[in-house]
Subunit: 508 residues, 2 copies
């Protein structure tokens, strides 16, 4: 079993990226200690709900918090000392099977013993507590740790930049696209004096009219820059100034089941791609497109999938128009689709220009091509540029995924989950439909927003923490240690819930 | 001595903000265990430089890192296991007195034993490792921890929102200003359908033409939104689209010594304030000003100070025009000026509307008024909304500041430092001038950018890590445990350096 590198003191060889095999083939599937048994010793046998949720203790704490923080989005307070594996345990000792995992951020379940052990090591502890400005004074262990991460999970891209969170990663990927676009335009020339003077006052030519193409229904963060790329819910965007001249394309929305709607869905792809080509043309005269940002599966927007052919053609349109393709794997990255990166499914002829990540990976960041390396220092920079404490966690998480063969586990659990859900959509066609997913990154739709909300509410009452997305979808985002027996529990409870929701629907 | 609260299980009383005394009066000055002795046991007696910097080991590691990360801004690699207190120790065992502290982010020196002890506690460890989505599923300990922080350091503002970093804090403070501005305009009405539809496509009226007024020379972050507020160096802004219609005012730049230039500096204030009033008028017809963001001391821009009168009048202009005043204390907050918040010096008749923070406080975030609480949930939201691991550190840092009377220490060291520097500017008038500062948040100017760079280079050769800002300034950003004997070491070395730089200047 691979151990967590504590301190890389010997000189490491440089990476030969030609010799890094595709992830799905080996890197994260080389574990030898997989097992059919429970991956999480000490997990409860199932959920157990004792009070309404939020219960009295949660309510009391929310009331306390309300004096000095907004609490409108808080569901309940969590006992993180007790929560374990796939089970989140709330302030009132209710035990919930967690299929939402703190908005898809908990990769290997709660309180994984290997993660808890990490900071008993003095070097790890000191790296975390003495958090440096990584762009200026990184620690001795930083190059080795970063190289380990890169070797473990790079989507065949040679460079990595860590950041703080998903929005910050997407912000900086967009900045890299603008830098790359202008570097190419300048053909090696330096900035002009006019550019330097004008940019200080936010004016062109230094602050040029360039754009990033994004997709309707997409979500890339909630900073002002990434909000201009986010188009999922008005409540996230209302009242904030934006880049009104950035183009927005249609993301394909397919009919399900896919196998019965091939021709129609192909037609959808075609229309969407044509619109993108038109937008590239249209933008040339006002605000050329420097980059295209897209989720492999639109998550917040409703778990919308697009075909491999769509992504292949999108990449080709980008190349034709010299725009950088940014794949936002903030929610899909880290294994939940059964591959470490979801875009591996698309069989792109070459890697995307950038891949952004965060959430399950604990640290934000992005991988990028050599072409995108800025000519000048300090172009992509901020005070912290990430956090060593999170890289220490990520190193261990990669090790756990490899050692416990978690990508295989996700595939197995995912197959069982999708199969079970498809049976349920046949059994309850008036309540749910459009089951879809890769690995355990699975969703289905309620027949109306109201039905969806009722299902989520009933699931919680029955011991399952679920999450919604889009207008009427339920998304599953379990940890990678979600096994077949957890699938059984989930499906049993869901069946009970659908019966109840169906019953009350009939009564209406 | 106060202990770090591990777990707040009992119901805490709600806060009465009328009874929170001003910070400078008591909250952080109530320690009873202050001492004149060294605050950092085990610190070296002084700097010790053995190799060029970066030395051979640093160079080797930079070469390794260069294969997969940009390294243009990296000075050297640091041994964070060995670094202690005010001394940063590099990969080649060079020991430097650190007056820059990782861009002003290390509050109580390297490897403070109290900080290292924190994560031996199981509750703290689990809070840090199981990092939740704080806006939805905070841990049991979160309300208590946040209340402790608020009680300890709130700048007389009743609400707090944690964030990830300084840029993220300023982004969300600006969003809060836009929300507040539009809430007032709507007089309790809900969003219109037209607003909801248009904002999804980044168009008005949902994405309105509103603006934030910022200042020439200011720095508020490098995300696209905050970059529109940042006007310090072209390299940070070139090639990125911006909000060209956001107004930029002149920050006062005073002549030093202040006592000899009173009339001229008052005139400067007057002109700046008049321009701000004019900008408010001008913006009304195109993009009204929802908020004004300003640093109490422009740091990255060159340690530019503005008078208390300037800030008082700025607040009054904001109130007259119903714009929110955001004080960006990302660099000044946390005690380096001798008060926990630098704006305490300005004796504002009432608190600013928002105060943003990060760096020394480990977590980003902002304090805000009740008026700025959004009517709808999920208006200010992202996945993590901060990080419990950083709040655990902040709680302990506040305790250390209180217990070791560090604000008093900063005042004492600052007085000695400024006095010594004023003597040196008299001794070397052709090399340095314009000594200025509050506490140990001190700067002086070289007589040219070249001279400044030479001084910083020589300081490093002689064992002092210094930092530059603006065109030709040197900024001191030591930790709060920088004591009088460290000031002596700094001044001795600087005198030697100025002699050398002066000597080579004469030779030129």
């Amino acid at each position: 079993m691979a151990t967590i590198p504590q301190f890389i003191s010997q000189k490491l060889p440089s990476i030969d990226f030609n010799n890094i095999p595709l992830l799905k083939d080996s890197r994260l599937r080389s574990g030898q200690c997989s097992s059919n048994k429970s991956l999480v010793p000490g997990e409860p046998e199932g959920p157990c709900v004792k009070t309404e949720i939020p219960g009295p203790r949660s309510k009391e704490l929310i009331k306390q918090l309300e004096h000095f923080q907004m609490v409108g989005t808080i569901q309940y307070l969590v006992n993180y000392e007790k929560s374990i594996g796939n089970y989140i345990i709330d302030a009132d000792d209710n035990i919930l099977l967690d299929t939402y995992t703190n908005i898809s951020t908990i990769p290997v379940g709660y309180n994984h013993p290997k993660l808890l052990d990490l900071f008993k090591d003095e070097c790890n502890l000191k790296s975390m507590v003495n958090r440096p400005a990584l762009g200026v004074y990184p620690g001795l262990d930083w190059p080795g740790r970063l190289e380990n991460v890169l070797k473990g999970i790079s989507p065949n891209l040679p460079n990595i930049q860590t950041m703080m969170c998903g929005a910050c990663s997407n912000e900086n990927a967009c900045k890299s696209a603008f830098i790359g676009y202008k570097m190419r335009e300048r053909c090696g020339q330096d900035f002009t004096e006019e550019e330097k003077k004008s940019c200080i006052n936010n004016q062109p030519p230094g602050s040029p009219y360039l754009s990033i193409l994004s997709f309707a229904g997409g979500f890339h963060g909630r900073s002002l820059g990434t909000l201009a790329l986010t188009h999922s819910k008005p409540i996230q965007k209302l009242d904030f100034p934006s880049f009104g001249y950035w183009p927005i394309a249609t993301y394909p929305k397919y009919k399900y089941p896919l196998e019965e709607n091939c021709r129609e869905n192909e037609e959808t792809d075609k229309k969407c791609l044509q619109q993108i080509e038109e937008l590239f043309e249209k933008q040339k005269s006002c605000a050329p497109i420097a980059g295209v940002i897209i989720e492999p599966i639109q998550s917040e927007g409703g778990d919308n999938h697009a075909s491999s052919q769509f992504f292949q053609k999108l990449q080709s349109i980008c190349k034709k128009n010299s725009a950088y393709l940014i794949i936002d794997e903030v929610q899909t990255g880290g294994g939940p689709t059964g591959r470490f990166w979801c875009h591996e499914y698309f069989d792109l002829p070459c890697p995307p220009d950038m891949v952004t990540f965060s959430k399950k990976l604990q640290t934000g960041g992005y991988f990028y091509t050599d072409e995108l390396k800025p000519k000048h220092p300090s172009r992509i920079f901020n005070t912290w540029m990430g956090d060593p404490g999170k890289i220490i966690l990520l190193e261990a998480i990669i090790d756990i995924i490899r050692c416990q063969n978690l990508l295989d586990q996700v595939e197995k659990s995912g197959e069982k989950l999708i199969c079970g859900l498809k049976n349920l959509e046949k059994e309850f066609p008036d309540i749910i439909h459009s089951v879809r997913g890769k690995g355990t990154f699975v969703a289905y739709d309620g027949n109306s927003p109201k039905t969806r909300d009722a299902i989520i509410k009933e699931l919680k009452k029955n011991g399952v923490q679920a999450g919604g997305c889009g207008d009427k979808s339920i998304r599953l985002r379990p940890a990678l240690v979600f096994q077949e027996h957890h699938v059984d529990i989930y499906l049993d409870i869901l069946r009970k819930v659908l019966k109840k929701v169906g019953g009350s629907k009939q009564k209406c």
